[in-house]
């Protein structure tokens, strides 16, 4: 089988065919996948009916697994999945739907805000792999926005204004936008803000992008309202329809996205009545985005 990648959007997104992700991947094919991720930002694989272990094994062609710790308010004893997987479902550890007012559900509503996974970590994630095990009857699409294209379309003076800016990211900020503020001391500590550069460069393509995320709550050295206003403005620009690809899930879909170059969000669905079982593995980044002094 030969691997073929077909572009699905003006700016990004490649659909990959000719590969069975459950089988061992050759070094060459692994290299090809990594290059495709740099170039396309989002890769779609169809009909990949994974076990968790198969997903974890395939994920490692992109790097080291980032453990799903410090990324939500679910306690270890309440986990449904192994710590190598982030549970992006609406299910509790017994596979039952989370109650409407469940604190974990309230927290997870934050996934409906545009974000980049783990941008709240000192070393943010490289990429995420999301496997669809069951879908809702309507809604629940995931949207992606491609940040190199959004960067290119900025006015020259905005590019200059943001070039050296450093932002602060935290789950406290993204959840704060939805008025979710009841965190215990342990969570506050786990979610302490981290510094990230606002402009990143992909080391392989050399393309610059804006590193945006709803986790951003401040710009170092700026008044908070002014910072939030600029971030809101950039977010609106970066999520204009021309930069967005919308994915309607089918069972067996595997999507890989590059968190260094893309934002994403899930769209609304009737999550209090229908299960949506989505399992994510995350590949750790390799370096901070800011110099060591930060």
């Amino acid at each position: 089988m030969t691997i073929v990648i077909e572009r699905k959007h003006e700016h990004f997104v490649g659909e990959v065919s000719g590969i069975d992700c459950r089988q061992p991947v050759t070094k060459e094919d692994g290299q090809l996948m990594n290059e495709a991720l740099d170039q396309f930002g989002v890769l779609i694989f169809r009909k990949q009916a994974f076990t968790d272990l198969e997903q974890i094994t395939f994920s490692k062609i992109f790097g080291e697994i980032e453990l799903a710790k410090g990324g939500n308010v679910t306690k270890d004893k309440d986990r449904r999945l192994d710590v190598q997987m982030a549970d992006v479902s609406n299910l509790d550890k017994d596979g039952n739907l989370l109650e409407r007012s469940d604190r974990r559900r309230m927290f997870n509503l934050g996934n409906r805000l545009w974000h980049s996974d783990s941008s709240y970590r000192v070393i943010p994630a490289k990429c995420s792999l999301l496997s669809c095990r069951s879908v809702a009857s309507s809604g629940g699409d995931t949207e992606f926005a491609f940040m190199p294209a959004a960067y290119d379309a900025l006015d020259q003076d905005i590019k200059m204004e943001i070039e050296e800016l450093v932002t602060e990211h935290s789950l406290l900020y993204s959840r704060g936008q939805l008025g979710f503020t009841e965190f215990d001391d342990e969570e506050r500590k786990a979610f302490a803000p981290v510094a990230q550069r606002l402009v990143r460069t992909n080391e392989f393509t050399g393309r610059k992008s804006i590193f945006l995320s709803s986790h951003i709550g401040s710009i170092v050295g700026w008044e908070i309202p002014e910072a939030r206003d600029l971030i809101r403005e950039l977010m609106e620009h970066a999520t204009s329809q021309s930069f967005v690809y919308r994915h309607s899930w089918s069972v067996g879909d595997l999507l890989v996205w590059d968190n260094r170059q893309c934002m994403h969000r899930v769209r609304r669905f009737d999550d209090a009545s229908e299960p949506r079982d989505m399992r994510r593995t995350t590949i750790a980044g390799t370096a901070k985005t800011v110099p060591k002094s930060n």
């Binding site: 409407r100 934050g110 979710f180 309202p225 939030r228």
Partner: protein, 294 residues
């Protein structure tokens, strides 16, 4: 001279010619303008170089003036204009540009969020009338979105879902979105949340519209995060580009809009470097939107 109204946007906005607003209006002119507002939501008048007194007189054709108390963080001695005016400029009481870190400027950044004027009042305003005395070279447009058109395009399920919803509006919520939260006790008292219906109907055209504003912080009976998430979703829908008219200001422009049917926001400009002198009079509404509060 006879008054003519020409629609300039697919859904709304009329440009009015054949009238000098510094002269007293005839009864039929007042009726024509009222009808134009009901149908088109926004009316534009060009080359109307009004004095403050003339603007106040013109405003009184449409109802009682709403006085500008309880709507900002200005102290008594910081007002540039009389209480009959909302000062939508970037100037202090001496006509100097507000400095970057000024608290009043931080508060005013909230005008860049989509809102309807005075939706934070128990009886929200009817019309706003904004006169452009000086405009910046670049930026500072005002954008409008027409809520009856938005309502019509909502899917049936959403129309049903919002039919009986009641929201809470406060300046504390809109400013909170920008992280502006240092209010003193007097301000907190003054900005206490008020309740409004989410679906309103124009009494003359009978068109329904969705009553949205960044001042909303809560849906009654809903968990806060779930309420905010839904409002965010509706705001995004309601401000899609095809619903939006952007007004580029010239000195002498007078634009009036119907706060019962429109949202608006100001766009960025170099507000610490260029003067933008805009003076707003507001026509008070006549009743709370909630029947139980009447």
């Amino acid at each position: 001279m006879s008054l003519k109204i020409e629609q300039v946007h697919r859904y709304f906005v009329g440009e009015v010619s054949g009238i000098d607003l510094s002269d007293p209006l005839s009864k039929s002119e007042v009726i024509q303008i009222e009808e134009g507002m009901d149908q088109l939501g926004v009316l534009i008048f060009r080359e109307q170089f009004l004095s403050d007194e003339e603007q106040v007189s013109y405003t009184k054709n449409f109802g009682e003036l709403e006085l500008h108390v309880g709507s900002n963080v200005l102290k008594g001695n910081e007002r540039r204009l009389s209480l009959e005016f909302a000062d939508v400029s970037n100037l202090d009481q001496d006509g100097e540009i507000l400095k970057k870190g000024d608290r009043r400027r931080m508060f005013n950044l909230g005008n860049k969020l989509w809102h309807t004027d005075s939706s934070f009042r128990n009886i929200p305003s009817k019309f706003s009338i904004l006169s452009c005395r000086s405009s910046p070279k670049v930026g500072g447009n005002t954008e409008f979105s027409f809520m009856p058109a938005v309502y019509d395009e909502l899917d049936e399920g959403t129309k049903q879902e919002i039919a009986d919803l009641i929201t809470e509006h406060s300046l504390i919520y809109s400013r909170g979105q920008l992280g502006f939260s240092d209010f003193n006790e007097e301000e907190k008292q003054m900005f206490k949340p008020v309740q409004h219906v989410m679906v309103r109907e124009n009494e003359f055209t009978k068109r329904k519209s969705i009553y949205l504003s960044s001042h909303i912080g809560k849906i009654l009976g809903w968990e806060i995060p779930e309420g905010r998430d839904f409002i965010r979703e509706l705001m995004e829908f309601a401000t899609q580009r095809h619903f939006v008219y952007a007004h580029e200001w010239k000195p002498g422009d007078l634009v009036m809009w119907d706060n019962r049917q429109c949202m608006h926001r100001v766009r960025p400009f170099k507000d610490t470097g260029e003067k933008r002198d805009m003076r707003r009079t507001t026509v008070a509404g006549i009743a709370p939107t909630l029947i139980s509060a009447r």
